[in-house]
């Protein structure tokens, strides 16, 4: 599981809490490239905590 702040600091070297939804937007775009068109989704959201990379079927993924 990767918290959003960890993603921000690892990917963009932003080592402070940002009050924007940059990470969400970036994940959305990443998802569009990685998961769109596949039944098995790889990028999953853990609400309130972060994201996790694991194979789940479309139906089981979090809303």
């Amino acid at each position: 599981m990767l918290p959003r702040s960890l993603i921000a600091s690892q990917v963009w070297d932003m080592n402070f809490d940002s009050d924007t939804n940059v990470v969400e937007v970036a994940i959305k775009r990443l998802r569009a490239k990685v998961d769109t068109g596949f039944d098995t989704k790889l990028i999953n959201t853990l609400r309130g905590m972060g994201y996790v990379l694991e194979a789940t079927s479309d139906a089981a993924s979090a809303p």
Partner: protein, 460 residues
């Protein structure tokens, strides 16, 4: 240690006044006394030498000793009206032929004769005289008479004693008057200070509106009064901001706490499915995150206020920081169809992480308020050892009266405390704190739909 002067300015100055007056009076008294004495001596000299001349004239014109009676008559008429004079005339053989005055000039005083016309002082213990005793030759050149003219100085001495007593009395009362007047004058002069003390006493956190009336205060105390009033202004201003801030803070904290509480209460009011519990916990988690972020921001600001934010000093390439920040916001900007542009370069001394946070806050602001399909430009320029970084975006003009307050905590230009998903209104306050810690500054301009945030930093 022995204290020579009392603590009170009034008493101290009065004492000094009195001391000074005593000195002046003493010197004055001595001078007056000396000059009066001198005046007496001169007067006596004039009188005595004048009479001596008269007498010697009469005696020299007398031919023989036979007409003693005529001489006596002539002398008496010459000396009429001079009761204070004591005159004694003797023949060569020591026989008195003439005497006048209240008392008889003692034989001892008549013993020595001088030729000079200078007055001698003579005293036998009971009486004191200023006198001239001289020999007068007859018209044929032979020694004829011995004449003594004297003035009893006892009178003078008595007068001088009385005069001295009078002087002393006047001096002492003058001294008292001076001390008293000084005391009164100083007390009156220091009245404004007491007024100040009264005003100062009446001031408390709830009553900071009292001010000194500077127009009635003497010039010497004006600057103090102005400084005092200015201090009160600053205090009242700070206090107002502090209380506004704490009420804002309470409000900002109450909203998320209320949300969490309400959701939890509703959830617990009846049995639920597992998914429902999870849903509310997630929602609570989001509120907690929001609270946590606000608290850490508040902590940062509190530290900055107390001068505890001490930036590292390293060379920072502003252009590369801008590039990193723009990269971070790229996705967000693309969502709103915004173009991000950067230009310029400057090296400054500072804390890279904090400066990046500044740039990030400004760009995030710009992205939030930018009109769709517009351009956000970050420009770096240098001038006079100063680096300027401008973040420009198209969007609604911020009304003029909001501009000075934008960097205050929790300040919202839209007035209504509407709760947006992003931010609690501390971003720009933090930005300014960082700039202050870097000895730089920040300003904002907003005109005709274009908003500029400008930061200035000393160059490395």
């Amino acid at each position: 240690m022995l204290r020579l002067l009392p603590d009170s300015i009034t008493a101290r100055t009065s004492v000094l006044f009195a001391g000074l007056a005593a000195l002046v009076f003493t010197v004055m008294g001595l001078v007056i006394q000396a000059s009066v004495n001198h005046h007496f001596v001169e007067q006596d000299q004039t009188v005595i030498t004048g009479k001596l001349e008269l007498i010697s004239n009469i005696l020299q014109n007398a031919t023989t000793t036979d007409n003693t009676i005529r001489i006596q008559r002539q002398l008496r008429s010459a000396l009429v009206g001079h009761h204070d004079l004591v005159v004694r005339v003797q023949t060569r053989s020591g026989q008195d032929i003439f005497m006048t005055g209240h008392d008889r000039l003692p034989d001892a005083a008549m013993m020595t004769a001088t030729t000079s016309l200078a007055l001698r002082s003579w005293s036998d213990g009971t009486t004191a005289y200023r006198l001239i005793v001289t020999d007068i030759l007859m018209s044929n050149g032979e020694p004829g008479w011995r004449v003594g003219i004297a003035i009893n100085t006892l009178q003078h001495a008595r007068f001088l004693v009385a005069f001295e007593r009078e002087l002393l009395f006047i001096g002492a009362s003058g001294l008292l008057c001076m001390a008293l007047f000084g005391w009164v004058a100083i007390r009156r002069g220091l009245k404004p200070l007491q007024k100040m003390a009264v005003v100062a006493e009446s001031i408390s956190a709830q009553r900071l509106h009292n001010r000194l009336a500077t127009e009635t205060i003497p010039v010497e105390l004006k600057s103090l009064a102005h400084a005092f009033n200015a201090m009160l202004d600053r205090l009242s201003d700070s206090l107002e901001r502090l209380s506004a801030f704490s009420s804002d803070l309470a409000h900002e904290l109450r909203t998320p706490v209320n949300n969490i509480m309400t959701q939890t209460q509703v959830l617990l009011s009846k049995p639920r499915e597992n998914d429902d519990y999870r849903e509310v916990l997630y929602s609570n988690l989001e509120e907690f995150e929001r609270l946590a972020r606000m608290i850490s921001d508040m902590l940062f600001l509190a530290k900055a206020d107390n001068g505890l934010i001490i930036p590292h000093r390293e060379q920072v390439q502003l252009a590369s920081e801008v590039r990193a920040v723009l990269e971070f916001y790229e996705a967000l900007a693309a969502d709103k169809s915004l173009a991000l542009q950067a230009s310029g370069q400057a090296v400054v001394m500072g804390d890279a992480l904090m400066l990046r946070r500044v740039i990030s806050n400004l760009v995030s602001n710009a992205v939030r308020h930018a009109r769709a399909n517009s351009v956000i430009a970050v420009r770096i320029t240098t001038q006079d050892q100063q680096a300027r970084l401008v973040v420009e975006n198209d969007g609604e003009t911020i009304p003029e009266h909001h501009l000075p307050h934008l960097f205050e905590r929790f300040y919202r230009a839209d007035g209504a405390r509407q709760r947006t998903e992003e931010g609690v209104g501390l971003g720009l306050a933090i930005t300014r704190s960082i700039m202050v810690a870097h000895h730089g500054n920040i300003e904002v301009r907003s005109q005709k739909g274009v908003t500029h945030f400008i930061i200035k930093l000393p160059m490395a």
